[in-house]
């Protein structure tokens, strides 16, 4: 019976099996020994419950994942909307610039092609002036 129980418990989600598996097995054996319940019926019931738990667990994780993705998408959309409204604000805003050193470690030929060591890149983002 122990082997059958061990196999049936594999139908349960891992987290649940780790935390409650031993107790489920003990209770099942108690019901067989003390109550004279049918091992076959209990086994079938354990299998069905295990599959039910797994499906419920999957559904819950899917819902959690879907919620996380939706929240992220909503946040990105809000940030983009904020950027667009800043762009429309006009006079109070000016594009941000950043100074970067480029071709510093490039070979001599490459360095000649890029006569200037400093380049100013215009970034696509905007920052509020002042």
């Amino acid at each position: 019976m122990d082997r059958v129980l061990a196999w049936l418990l594999r139908l349960y989600p891992r987290q649940m099996r780790r935390r409650y598996g031993h107790e489920i097995a003990t209770l099942t054996l108690d019901l067989i020994r003390l109550e004279g319940r049918s091992p076959v019926r209990l086994s079938v019931s354990l299998a069905l419950d295990g599959l039910g738990c797994r499906i419920a667990w999957l559904a819950r994780t899917r819902v959690a994942t879907a919620t996380a993705v939706t929240t992220t998408v909503a946040c990105v959309a809000l940030v983009n909307m904020g950027g667009a409204s800043a762009k429309q604000a006009g006079p109070g805003h000016r594009p941000a610039t950043a100074h970067v050193r480029s071709v510093r470690h490039a070979p001599a030929a490459g360095r000649a092609a890029h006569s200037r060591n400093r380049k100013t890149l215009r970034l696509e983002g905007f920052r509020e002036s002042g």
Partner: protein, 98 residues
């Protein structure tokens, strides 16, 4: 959040004191006539523990007793009050119809 029926049975049993799995099954069977299987019972306990409505105590002879938490007591009281209100309304309507 609405508590499922089997969770109400488990919480009602634990409202009478700390119990482990076997004692829970026997108590629930005695007061409601519902025979829970081990898998169903522990699925309910897992959910209730996750929600903070019950807590697992240290093992006593390989069996962990479970205890109702204050949050569980509140949730059970609310759910039973709602059930009592619906039952009362239903009974009044049946009486009026007769």
């Amino acid at each position: 959040m609405r508590l499922p029926e089997r969770s109400v049975l488990v919480l009602t049993s634990l409202a009478g004191g700390d119990r482990h799995g076997y004692a829970l099954i026997k108590d629930i069977e005695a007061f409601s006539g519902v025979v829970l299987s081990p898998g169903t019972l522990y699925a309910a306990l897992a959910r209730l523990e996750e929600d903070g409505f019950v807590e697992r105590l240290d093992a006593d002879d390989r069996r962990h007793p479970y205890r109702l938490t204050p949050a569980g007591r509140t949730a059970l009281a609310e759910r039973l009050a709602e059930s009592a209100r619906i039952a009362s309304l239903g009974l009044r309507r049946i009486a009026l119809a007769e």
